[in-house]
């Protein structure tokens, strides 16, 4: 992968190795040194990107501090008297079902959306006729701009139509815990289940993943594609040999971005999901996500309750960080060494 940071780290066996750092021109006297004018563009650029980099850290720190500061009541309550916390059994027993719910919904959304998004991206870049491809691009961009409340409304309408499907699922695949019917032998009558919410989520993150991977796939070097084709690769084989390996890091990034959106999506889930206690089955009502819990409760929350909700937000923050780092670590481990 061509990664270019000009700043070199000294090679371990090159003791006297030098690296490019200083700014003064060589002291050769009678030459075109006057050409080496101060390059304001470069200075400004360095400064600007550095400032941007720092600012983003400041913003993140700001958000994190805000979350932490608002969480202190909850932490205090947790230490002094855990029964004050909603649910009465302390913060962790309150939060873990939410964590699980959030992870499940995000995982389903990702599992559904990623192959789909890659398919669409490949279709637009390598399969669709020249004229159709930009149209599909518009469609994707459009999907990205639909407000989550509209997705929510649409999801509610969709939910009603999914009950039959869920019944069918629970009849035939009820032995799989995630499709098991509820205690009374039936599935949700409203369709407002975790599965519906996750499916709508997957549509919401689809544009993000598609857009990013599409751009990356478009940039696959022609020479690589030609190399694969000339070996007698079919389109799919060419994509496997040249396009996907080239796009690997982009695919990971796209998935992470989609994951972020799925973890943090609020409105649509809050509108669609009929929340309840944690259950393994995804076709009965129940489960809840962190973002939706916050959205549904903060309008009426005050004092400790508000602090609790923000602490829950902090937990999401930490989860995201862990998931991200984990995912990237796994990807890094499976890459070709040295490439």
């Amino acid at each position: 992968m061509p990664i270019s940071t000009e700043t070199t780290e000294p090679g371990p066996t090159g003791p006297g190795s030098t690296s490019e750092s200083g700014q003064k021109p060589p002291q050769s006297p009678a030459s075109r040194q006057q050409k080496a004018v101060v390059r304001p563009g470069d200075r400004i650029f360095s400064a600007a990107t550095l400032i941007a980099g720092i600012l983003i850290l400041v913003i993140l720190a700001g958000v994190a501090l805000f979350l932490l500061a608002q969480s202190k009541d909850t932490i205090a309550a947790q230490i002094s008297d855990p029964s004050q916390i909603t649910g009465g059994k302390g913060f962790f027993s309150y939060v873990w079902p939410l964590v699980i719910g959030t992870l499940i919904s995000a995982a389903i959304a990702l599992l559904v959306a990623t192959p789909f998004a890659l398919g669409i991206a490949l279709f637009t870049t390598h399969m669709a006729p020249r004229r159709l491809a930009p149209m599909l691009g518009y469609v994707i961009d459009l999907l990205a701009a639909i407000p989550s409340v509209v997705y929510g409304l649409w999801g509610i309408a969709l939910a009603g139509n999914l009950t039959g499907f869920y019944l069918w699922l629970s009849t035939w695949f009820g032995w799989i815990p995630i499709f098991a019917p509820g205690a009374d032998g039936s599935v949700s009558q409203t369709g407002r289940t975790m599965l519906t919410a996750s499916l709508v989520l997957s549509i919401m993150i689809l544009p993000i993943i598609t857009s990013l991977t599409r751009e990356i796939f478009l940039q696959t070097p022609r020479l690589q594609e030609e190399a694969a084709l000339a070996l007698g690769a079919t389109r799919w084989e060419m994509i496997r040999m040249a396009v996907l390996p080239f796009g690997k890091s982009g695919i990971v990034s796209a998935t992470m971005l989609g994951l972020g959106r799925a973890l943090g999506e609020t409105m649509a889930v809050a509108m669609i999901l009929s929340p309840g206690v944690l259950t393994a089955s995804l076709v009965v009502s129940g489960n809840q996500t962190i973002a939706s819990e916050i959205a549904q409760n903060f309008p009426e929350a005050a004092g400790l309750r508000l602090s609790e909700l923000i602490t829950v937000g902090l937990v999401l923050f930490v989860i995201t960080l862990l998931v991200n780092m984990g995912a990237r670590a796994i990807v890094a481990r499976t890459s070709v060494k040295g490439s």
């Binding site: 992968m1 020249r130 070097p221 020479l223 690589q224 594609e225 030609e226 190399a227 694969a228 084709l229 000339a230 070996l231 007698g232 690769a233 079919t234 084989e237 040999m241 040249a242 390996p245 080239f246 690997k248 070709v336 060494k337 040295g338 490439s339």
Partner: protein, 259 residues
């Protein structure tokens, strides 16, 4: 195993631009054919039509026929994938897969053909192909490192190894020795000599001596001027072309009295 190629009235276009005009040629099986001519005259373009790689370029098209053992590869119902499985190619610019290791690069084409290879078969094949391309000694200790960490000439030889590993019936080579030192060049020429016992080889080269050394027949292309299409000027036995060409243009080019 080898194929005969008949090119009939081939015109080649990049969008509106007619790059090559009216090529007629018959390439015999089990022979080496060299394409020579000034830069930009359409050698690579013609070569790329022989395995339908030309049409991969957006807007590019051809008209005319290219018959392989009598079947027009541009005929209706011909899958270019099948054509390319039988016609291997080495590009003018070396293009190893940067994300694959050296060994994977060599085996890439073989893996495509769905052949199951045992570990030893794979190792044998890798060694054979890399030896053929005179690269084995230089890379035998780093077969699992990425192909992008090689020098220019090494990359070029890696691409040759990759192409011969699939044992195609026809092998097209676009300046395969351009980045090679004389020793590697000789090795590749030996390789070509071996290959022609079984396969049909077409090679583009700027090196007259090389053309004279390896080829049975030589095709000389030329271009009348900027914006004009390239044309096949003369196509005969290599000895004829270099000693006693039919056309004056050819003679001028061969003897360097051109332009």
């Amino acid at each position: 195993m080898s194929k005969q190629i008949d090119i009939k009235d081939l015109d080649i276009f990049y969008g509106d631009f007619r790059a090559v005009d009216g090529v007629e040629m018959q390439i015999k099986p089990r022979s080496v054919t060299a394409f020579i001519g000034p830069s930009g005259c359409g050698k690579s373009t013609v070569l790329r039509t022989l395995n339908r790689m030309h049409e991969v370029i957006p807007g590019a098209s051809v008209s005319g026929e290219v018959l392989m053992d009598g079947t027009d590869i541009y005929g209706a119902g011909v899958d270019p994938v099948n054509v390319r499985r039988e016609v291997g190619m080495v590009f003018q610019r070396a293009n190893p897969f940067p994300t694959m290791s050296i060994k994977e690069n060599v085996l890439a084409g073989v893996r495509l053909n769905n052949r199951r290879l045992s570990k030893t078969e794979a190792d044998d094949l890798t060694e054979r192909a890399l030896r053929g391309a005179n690269l084995w000694n230089e890379v035998k200790d780093r077969l699992n490192l990425p192909g992008s960490g090689l020098s220019g000439g090494q990359q070029q030889r890696l691409c040759i190894a990759r192409a011969i590993a699939v044992e195609p019936e026809v092998l097209l080579m676009d300046e395969p020795c351009s980045a090679l030192d004389p020793i590697s060049t000789l090795a590749i020429e030996d390789l070509i000599n071996d290959l022609k016992d079984k396969y049909t080889v077409v090679i583009v080269t700027h090196n007259m001596q090389q053309a004279a050394r390896v080829s049975d027949k030589t095709a000389f292309f030329n271009i009348a001027g900027t914006g004009k299409p390239g044309k096949l000027i003369e196509f005969s036995e290599t000895s004829t072309i270099f000693s006693n060409p039919d056309k004056e243009e050819t003679e001028n080019y061969i003897s360097g009295r051109f332009g």
